[in-house]
């Protein structure tokens, strides 16, 4: 079997595409697992699951120890060769702990899965975006986490039939406790889906000046502002949903404009798949120019207002 799990229904739909593809080649079935909720079970079948297991548990909030024990008890009954888990922060720690409990191999953040000589083989980005490692599994199960938007969901097929199984699971309780859950300040931006992104870095002297970036984003009809790590993590001028890079969001807009960003490899790792990359930096030696299609060497405080009005004029 190929088992699919994520706490994000959108991600499950994407994973089911790859799972169905692998299952077809290996002549296996696809099982989707949901914990607690019955809500999307039907959708998962239409997206390609042959079986949906609804784990019924009193366990509401995510704790890796307890979710691991739930998946372990499901895996005990359904021998699964391949386990695909959605790669968000919860998914990664769950997959890793599960792998340890099963003495299994695990690859985090795979961007491709293929069968090579009938062996499961993955690709993933390593060395901060400098290279792709090709990994192959020995033995099973093989545990793989996949980030959002690597695969598209299959269109829903209302004729695809599947079985829904409700299963009560005993959870081995963790000694840890969740004492508070707090929503973080968020401006509700979704850089991952944006078609046009204008980003700012430490080249900006103060928070108010980010206005220059929003204004350019507005005339480009993109309206999406991104930023480098220091702007979100250290200075906290923007919320973390704007943060692009290795430890932030990975984006692939049609146009990415980097303003006052030096172009360190960890920033590039988040935006290298962009269509057209434009850089504005006062330092002609800045690394960002090596990763850019077009660049202007100059002070962003002069360049941005001019660029904004020139584009406004051009587009009308």
């Amino acid at each position: 079997m190929v088992l699919v799990y994520s706490d994000d229904p959108k991600l499950i739909a994407e994973l089911l595409n790859k799972a169905s593809d692998l299952a077809k080649q290996l002549q296996k079935k696809v099982i989707a697992v949901t914990i607690g909720s019955e809500q999307h079970a039907k959708d998962y079948i239409e997206h390609g699951a042959d079986v949906v297991i609804i784990a019924q548990t009193t366990q509401q909030q995510f704790k890796a120890e307890e979710y691991t024990s739930i998946l372990l008890s499901i895996l005990k009954e359904h021998s699964n060769e391949i386990v695909l888990i959605g790669s968000n922060k919860n998914g990664k720690e769950l997959a890793s702990r599960l792998a340890a409990r099963l003495d299994a191999g695990c690859v985090i953040d795979a961007t491709n899965i293929l069968l090579k000589d009938k062996k499961v083989t993955t690709e993933r980005v390593v060395y901060s975006g400098n290279a792709i490692a090709v990994e192959q599994f020995f033995g099973s199960p093989q545990i793989i986490t996949i980030p959002p938007r690597v695969f598209d969901p299959l269109p829903k097929n209302p004729n695809h039939k599947g079985e829904i199984i409700k299963k009560t699971v005993d959870v081995e309780q963790s000694a840890s406790k969740i004492i508070k859950v707090q929503e973080m300040k968020s401006e509700g931006v979704n850089v991952e889906d944006a078609q046009i992104i204008v980003s700012c870095g430490r080249g900006f002297k103060k928070k108010e000046d980010i206005r220059l970036v929003s204004e350019l984003a507005d005339v480009l009809k993109g309206r999406t502002v991104g930023c480098s790590r220091p702007i979100a993590a250290d200075l906290k001028w923007l919320s973390e949903d704007h943060w692009i890079g290795l430890s932030g969001h990975k984006v692939k807009p049609k146009l990415y404009v980097a303003c006052g960003i030096s172009g360190q490899i960890q920033h590039i790792a988040g935006m290298r798949d962009s269509g057209v990359i434009v850089a504005i930096n006062k330092d002609p030696e800045a690394l960002i120019f090596k990763s850019a299609d077009y660049g202007i060497v100059g002070d962003l405080y002069e360049v941005l207002p001019k660029l904004t009005s020139a584009i406004k004029e051009k587009i009308g």
């Binding site: 890796a64 720690e93 090579k116 390593v126 060395y127 792709i132 406790k177 990359i277 850019a292 202007i296």
Partner: protein
């Protein structure tokens, strides 16, 4: 408080050059360092020790030259080091078993600290794997860690949410880059660190079973990044005009 820090020696990714012909990263000659977040983890360990007393032991699975880098951690404030020689072929499964074996041999521990991920491979598997093997609670992406005599309270940063968790000992935490600014050791501390012990253990001392990798690296491919690199740097008005024309031509202005 007995604190164990898992620290990895990594290649300094910022120094990696790409071979223009093969497009593969050239790793030979790239300087090695302790992974950034492992220093954040050590900083947390030192703060805990300052408050509650105890001992900080650094465990590394790595090449023999990792000893030099471990000295830096001893200078920062760790008390002792344990270096396990890395087998020629490894994967996360093996590294986690080796670390778990070393930790069991060390014996008593209250808190195990790891980085949230290493800067070279960046997968963050080792922490949760280790917690799984030892069957203890894990708090990943930890920041704002507070240790009390019988428990740890920490925020876990999930980006859109922050979850505050509490756990009795023993517990494993993985520490984020944002949690603190690691201290720089003083010259005195650097000199004194040469008297602190680094034990070298062979892997056969640690694990009885023969460890085999579950995942094998077949290839490390380059990532082609073909960009036009057209840079305007003359008169600003002209530069802006040229850029806008180019952007219109490639169809991103509509």
């Amino acid at each position: 408080m007995n604190i164990i820090l898992c620290a990895k020696q990594v290649v300094d990714v910022a120094e990696i050059k790409i071979d223009p012909a093969t497009k593969k990263p050239v790793l030979a000659g790239v300087p090695q360092k302790i992974s950034d977040m492992d220093k954040n983890a050590l900083e947390e360990a030192i703060k805990i020790k300052e408050k509650h007393g105890g001992k900080i032991t650094v465990v590394t699975v790595g090449a023999p030259d990792a000893k030099e880098r471990m000295r830096e951690l001893l200078a920062m404030g760790a008390d002792e080091g344990v270096l396990l020689t890395q087998p020629p072929q490894t994967d996360y499964h093996m590294i986690a078993h080796l670390l778990a074996g070393a930790i069991k041999k060390i014996g008593s521990y209250d808190i195990i600290l790891c980085g949230e991920a290493s800067i070279d491979m960046f997968s963050g598997q080792i922490g949760p794997r280790l917690a799984g093997l030892l069957n203890i609670p894990q708090i990943t992406y930890a920041q704002q860690i507070t240790v009390e005599p019988t428990k740890v309270v920490s925020e876990k940063n999930l980006g859109e949410k922050s979850v505050t968790m509490e756990s009795p000992f023993p517990v494993l935490l993985t520490v984020t880059k944002e949690s603190n600014q690691p201290r720089l050791p003083s010259l005195m501390a650097i000199l004194a660190s040469s008297n602190k012990p680094i034990h070298e253990w062979s892997t056969t001392d640690i694990v009885s079973q023969t460890l085999q990798p579950k995942v094998q690296t077949l290839d490390v491919k380059g990532i082609p990044m073909q960009r036009k690199n057209i840079i305007f740097q003359d008169d600003l008005d002209q530069s802006v005009g040229k850029l806008v024309n180019e952007l219109a031509k490639v169809g991103v202005l509509r």
